[in-house]
């Protein structure tokens, strides 16, 4: 950050993005039309990406846009497009599990409210200084290691990669067998 730069992370932007995210999430659940739901989800994901940017985590924000909003949602839409929307919209939107869901969300809300009300001590009393430039490099160091040393998560990262590779191979084999 250059000296004299005005902070972008103003409360106004925080509430704007947070509000958009929540509205998007609500719309996503309540829309009967699956494509509208998907579009609402994209809105939420983009708002979350904006929140990451405000936390000076541009890399995470970029990845969020590329992977979730760009890649996964396109595939989602791709699949949804081929589903018969008219039939789905006639079906019951919520199944019988809704009391359980309501209970779970109420519990979560209670947890949040409790934490907010009681636990001033749980939260840091001020925002940690977040150096903008070091963020991306920090992730790289954690994942790949720095200056010849193995990173904190290198092993876990490689294991995850391997797992994904196996999943890809499995998917290929499953579709191949059908043909």
């Amino acid at each position: 950050m250059n000296p004299g730069a005005a902070p972008v992370a103003t409360p106004f932007f925080f509430y704007l993005l947070a509000g958009t995210a929540i509205v998007g999430a609500m719309l996503m659940i309540t829309r009967r039309n699956a494509v509208h739901s998907a579009l609402a989800l994209i809105l939420t994901l983009l708002s979350v990406a904006g929140l990451y940017l405000m936390l000076y985590a541009p890399f995470v924000a970029g990845v969020q846009i590329i992977v979730y909003a760009g890649g996964i949602m396109v595939l989602f839409l791709f699949v949804i497009m081929l589903v018969n929307i008219e039939r789905i919209s006639k079906e019951r939107q919520f199944n019988r599990m809704w009391p359980v869901g309501l209970l779970a969300s109420c519990a979560l809300l209670a947890l949040f409210l409790g934490a907010l009300a009681k636990g001033k001590s749980l939260l840091p009393d001020r925002m940690m200084p977040l150096p903008e430039s070091a963020n991306t490099q920090g992730i790289a160091a954690a994942l790949y290691g720095d200056a010849g040393r193995m990173g904190q998560y290198t092993f876990a990262f490689e294991i995850a990669s391997l797992l994904l590779l196996v999943a890809i191979l499995g998917a290929v084999i499953m579709t191949k067998k059908k043909i």
């Binding site: 081929l82 589903v83 018969n84 929307i85 008219e86």
Partner: protein
């Protein structure tokens, strides 16, 4: 998701009928169209209505495609949008009056249509056009063949996505149309020939114009070959696309360049020479694989062979009359005749029944495009939507002739 919008009176249920043929070797694909109709998206099938207003159906052809994703499971052609009842009109006109009507069938090769009709009536009258008339007829017919093939090349390339050749071929076709215009006043529906020969003598400078064309066009054909023949995308788009074997071609009655590209060396100009084609030295180009690429190559070579014929003809036009002795009122004796010629698109036949009056009792036109179009279903099964467009282009149909 709605189903195919079949709003007109035909086939409102959107179902597809049987395949073209019951012969086992003709059905190349194992896909069966007889499965009971299921809701489209449950069975992953999509009915796509291509045409009658579509950029690549060359007029008002309507093709109903049954698709699995982009793969074609079956097709049905709906034709007749341009039906004008040419055969009925013929029965109500005199032989001479009907002559201009034949130009309106295959309007991009009107001169070939006229040649076939005039020769059929001449045969019925038992007269022969004089040699000079025959030479000029051959020149004009072959020029017309080149113009038809040029039009085909341009539109076919456009269908496959190369837009530039269209403009080049139209430039060259323009030179041919200029010769037609100078000769008979019309560019497209020329009505160039009369029963018994020609009405007009060639205009001064006709031979010079034709010779100019002969020097001008070979380099242009080279250009097209340079643009397309070696082009990787062009090869990928045309090789092994719409393959049809020579056996299938014969069984389905497919003639013309499509038949020759499948390896059958058959051309009516050689097999049963008419006019004075036997005087000229030319070859019949053939292909091997019967795919779209071979058909392209065959047509390119045919243009060059046509140039050869024109060159020989224009250098050997004899002097003499241009009209045989035919009565002013044409009244052929009772009888019937079938005469066919090699039109740019295949065998064009006329079956004429005379009852001794001035009007033909029945004229039947055997249109090459109509019969060739039947092979579309066989050629596109198992291919992709993009190939349907390429195959419609490569069969080279003219809807005026399909529907008549």
């Amino acid at each position: 998701m709605t189903d195919a919008k079949t709003t007109d009176a035909r086939r409102s249920d959107g179902t597809l009928p049987n395949a073209v043929s019951t012969r086992s070797h003709v059905i190349a694909s194992h896909l069966d169209l007889d499965t009971p109709e299921k809701p489209y998206l449950d069975s992953n099938e999509l009915i796509l209505n291509m045409g009658p207003q579509h950029p690549a159906t060359h007029g008002v052809l309507r093709v109903i495609l049954k698709l699995d994703g982009e793969k074609v499971l079956g097709t049905e052609c709906v034709i007749g949008y341009l039906h004008r009842g040419v055969e009925k009109i013929a029965e109500n006109r005199t032989y001479t009056m009907f002559n201009p009507y034949v130009d309106r069938m295959d309007y991009v090769a009107a001169i070939s249509n006229g040649l076939g009709y005039c020769q059929a009536v001449e045969k019925l009258l038992n007269v022969e056009a004089p040699p000079r008339a025959n030479y000029i007829r051959v020149i004009l017919t072959e020029l017309n063949r080149i113009s038809s093939h040029l039009l085909w090349l341009g539109t076919h390339a456009l269908d496959i996505g190369a837009m530039t050749p269209l403009f080049y071929t139209f430039r060259d076709r323009e030179e041919i149309l200029k010769i037609f215009e100078k000769y008979c006043g019309a560019r497209l529906t020329t009505h160039a020939f009369r029963i018994g020969g020609l009405q007009y003598e060639t205009y001064p400078g006709f031979e010079k114009d034709v010779k100019n064309f002969l020097t001008f066009v070979p380099s242009k054909i080279d250009d097209y070959e340079a643009l397309l023949t070696g082009n990787r995308i062009w090869i990928e788009r045309t090789k092994n696309v719409g393959v049809i074997s020579g056996e299938d071609c014969i069984a389905l009655g497919v003639t013309g360049p499509v038949l020759r590209a499948s390896g059958v060396k058959w051309d009516l100009r050689k097999a049963q020479p008419y006019a004075n084609y036997s005087d000229f030295d030319f070859e019949i180009p053939t292909g091997e694989n019967g795919d779209t690429f071979d058909r392209y190559i065959v047509r390119m070579l045919e243009m060059r062979q046509s140039l050869r014929i024109i060159e020989q003809a224009v250098n050997g036009i004899p002097e003499g009359p241009i009209m045989a002795k035919v009565p002013k009122v044409i009244k052929p004796p009772v009888g019937e005749i079938y005469h066919s010629i090699e039109a740019p698109k295949g065998e064009l036949g006329y079956f004429i029944v005379s009852d001794g009056s001035t009007q033909p009792y029945r004229v039947r036109v055997r249109p090459p495009s109509f019969v060739n179009l039947q092979a579309l279903d066989l050629m596109v099964r198992g291919m992709l939507v993009a190939d349907v467009v390429a195959v419609i282009g490569t069969i080279d149909i003219v809807l005026g002739e399909v529907d008549r």
